[in-house]
């Protein structure tokens, strides 16, 4: 049976760190023109169902309300934003930039199976396709990471359309394609070959999909696919697109922070173009994930291109907490004001003076020895 735990009550530095991280991220989003949006936590399941994949539905919490409606606690913010845009905001001039700091409720798979409530900090750029929008979103992610003082991180960049094209070309039924996708995510080229050779898939496609599952990454993955499948025009277009994004970011000085990794294709099923994840030294999980989803809004209304991302606040705080804790210990001595019981007014005057100057202050009560 699943051991369900709810959000751990966070105390003191952890709480303030969550606020700081949220404030930093929202400040960056605001600086790029992303306006904050509030999305309800509770949704009617039938209204959101079309935007959730099987996995998201399986991990969601659903229940029947007093009116007999099947309700769901929002398991992902992006589909809810897409629905809100289609139903309420579609009249606004495009592109529309929205950001959020919202809670999601879902059972995380695997070791974090206990994690039910978590917070996402994210942004969505709605109504614009193409390289400029994709690069803009990646630059916003990079700025957030820089503002948080992180150095040893990088973004893995993949393309869902390219991966889907390759998987479809195998001619495998959906169930088998899912197995191959699992093998790619597990970076298990042996398993990829085992499945596809059994199906009789053509060798250049098997080799190209095995390249996706490989650990190499980098531009050589693109070179390899171009060489193996020179007549697959749609595929070559996507390869060129990834090259263009990579080159643009490299010329902006982020060459070492962005890495092509065609195997990073996990995530919700609504991604249709680029997909990316952020990893950092010291974090056992990814810090953020994002991608292009040009057909998601169309499930609720008029098809509108969009791209976005979300950071996991818990993972960021877990990563940053030890650093801040060390810094906090160093600072604390300067923040202390001793207030003696015999002259509390004098002590508190100093405290208030520091607070009027917005200086961090800790009060230490000192009792007098009674003679």
């Amino acid at each position: 049976m699943l051991d369900i735990q709810f959000a751990t009550p966070a105390l003191d530095r952890s709480v303030s760190l969550r606020r700081q991280v949220t404030a930093q991220a929202m400040q960056v989003f605001g600086g790029w023109g992303y306006r904050e949006i509030q999305i309800p936590l509770l949704e009617r399941f039938d209204a959101l169902q079309g935007a959730l994949d099987e996995d998201q539905i399986a991990r969601s919490f659903r229940f029947v309300d007093r009116g007999g409606n099947l309700m769901v606690l929002r398991p992902d913010v992006t589909p809810a934003v897409a629905k809100t845009f289609a139903f309420q905001l579609s009249g606004l001039p495009l592109p529309l930039r929205v950001s959020y700091a919202n809670k999601v409720v879902r059972i995380e798979r695997s070791f974090s199976g206990a994690q039910v409530e978590s917070y996402q900090l994210g942004a969505e750029l709605i109504g614009r396709g193409g390289l400029v929008a994709d690069v803009e979103v990646l630059l916003v992610v990079l700025e957030v990471l820089e503002r948080l003082g992180l150095k040893m991180f990088h973004i893995n960049l993949a393309d869902h359309q390219l991966a889907r094209h390759l998987l479809k070309a195998t001619g495998a039924p959906r169930r088998i394609r899912e197995d191959v996708e699992e093998a790619i995510l597990a970076r298990d080229p042996d398993e990829v070959r085992l499945i596809l050779e059994g199906l009789g898939t053509r060798k250049p496609f098997i080799d190209s999909i095995a390249v996706l599952a490989g650990l190499e990454g980098g531009l050589q993955q693109l070179d390899w696919i171009e060489k193996a499948l020179p007549n697959e025009l749609e595929l070559l277009e996507r390869v060129q697109y990834l090259r263009d994004i990579e080159r643009t970011l490299a010329e902006l000085g982020y060459g070492k922070k962005v890495r092509i990794d065609l195997g990073e294709i996990d995530g919700p099923g609504y991604y249709t173009g680029i997909g990316f994840s952020v990893v950092s030294e010291g974090a056992s999980r990814r810090l953020a994930r994002g991608g292009r989803y040009d057909t998601l809004i169309g499930r609720f209304g008029k098809e509108t291109p969009a791209v976005g991302f979300s950071f996991s606040l818990e993972t960021l705080v877990e990563l940053l907490h030890p650093k801040v804790a060390q810094g906090g210990a160093r600072r604390r001595a300067h923040e202390v004001v001793t207030v003696r019981e015999s002259d509390a007014v004098l002590g508190f005057e100093e405290v208030l003076e520091r607070r009027r100057n917005n200086l961090p202050t800790r009060v230490i009560a000192r009792g007098e020895e009674r003679g």
Partner: protein, 249 residues
């Protein structure tokens, strides 16, 4: 002075441990016998800029340690990976440690005979796999989670078992037969996804070294099926020797 980074590798204390250690030694890892818990520092045998630390662990725990990034790397069999559901990379498959996963029962039992019981009980250390197999066939069974599946069947706790077949001898000894092969378990090098992404060169170096120093695979395991099944006629027909024709069974 720059502090050298380390890569921790968890090895399973299983029947394959000696073969894994032998392959790592061939890759230059100066490893002692890993019969006691503890970290063994083996320096940088691959010249990849990372110092390796190797430690033994209970086989089922390896994935958890790797997923939590307490260990960057590990070696784990796919049966346990699938059962525990850990999300890790699996970039290398060892030549040894490949076992069939079978559904077995006392000789004479079949899927049909099991499904004719009011509620068949299946002993297994792999409850998730067992549930999946039987739910796919639309069979309602009670899955009993035990590690010693033979005893469970011999003492009447279960009617059949789902387990990996490492040695067919006990099956012959206790007169058990395989009803179906459900798949194969393989031994994989496993890697934490997020940290592996930042240490690709070192991990690739390890994979390449393991590929270049393979330990020979043991002979294929002969799965003891119930041969008599092949001799039996269909369930509804039998041959009438006297009249020389088929009669309804």
């Amino acid at each position: 002075m720059t502090q050298r980074q380390s890569l921790r590798l968890a090895l399973p204390m299983s029947a394959e441990l000696d073969a894994i250690v032998e392959q790592l030694r061939a890759c230059g890892f100066a490893l002692p016998d890993l019969d006691m818990p503890g970290l063994h520092h083996v320096g940088d045998p691959l010249g990849c800029g990372f110092d390796f630390e190797v430690f033994p662990l209970a086989p089922a725990d390896v994935g958890t340690y790797v997923e939590h990034a307490i260990s960057h790397l590990g070696v784990m069999s796919t049966d346990l990976l699938n059962e525990t559901g850990v999300e890790v990379w699996r970039p290398y498959t060892f030549a040894f440690g490949r076992y069939p996963l079978i559904l077995a029962a006392p000789k004479g039992e079949t899927f049909a005979s099991l499904s004719s019981r009011p509620l068949a009980r299946i002993a297994t250390p792999y409850p998730a796999l067992a549930r999946e197999v039987f739910s796919h066939r639309g069979m309602n069974v009670e899955v009993v989670n035990v590690s010693d599946t033979y005893t469970a069947c011999l003492l009447g706790l279960a009617d059949a078992f789902v387990d990996r077949l490492e040695d067919p001898a006990p099956m012959h000894e206790h007169d058990f037969r395989a009803i179906d092969v459900l798949g194969y378990s393989q031994l994989k090098l496993v890697v934490n996804r997020a940290l592996g992404s930042r240490r690709r060169i070192a991990i690739q170096a390890l994979v390449k070294c393991l590929q270049s120093q393979p330990v020979a695979a043991p002979p294929v395991i002969d799965i003891p099926f119930d041969d008599e099944d092949e001799q039996l006629p269909g369930p509804f027909l039998e041959w009438d020797e006297d009249s020389g024709g088929e009669i309804a069974g």
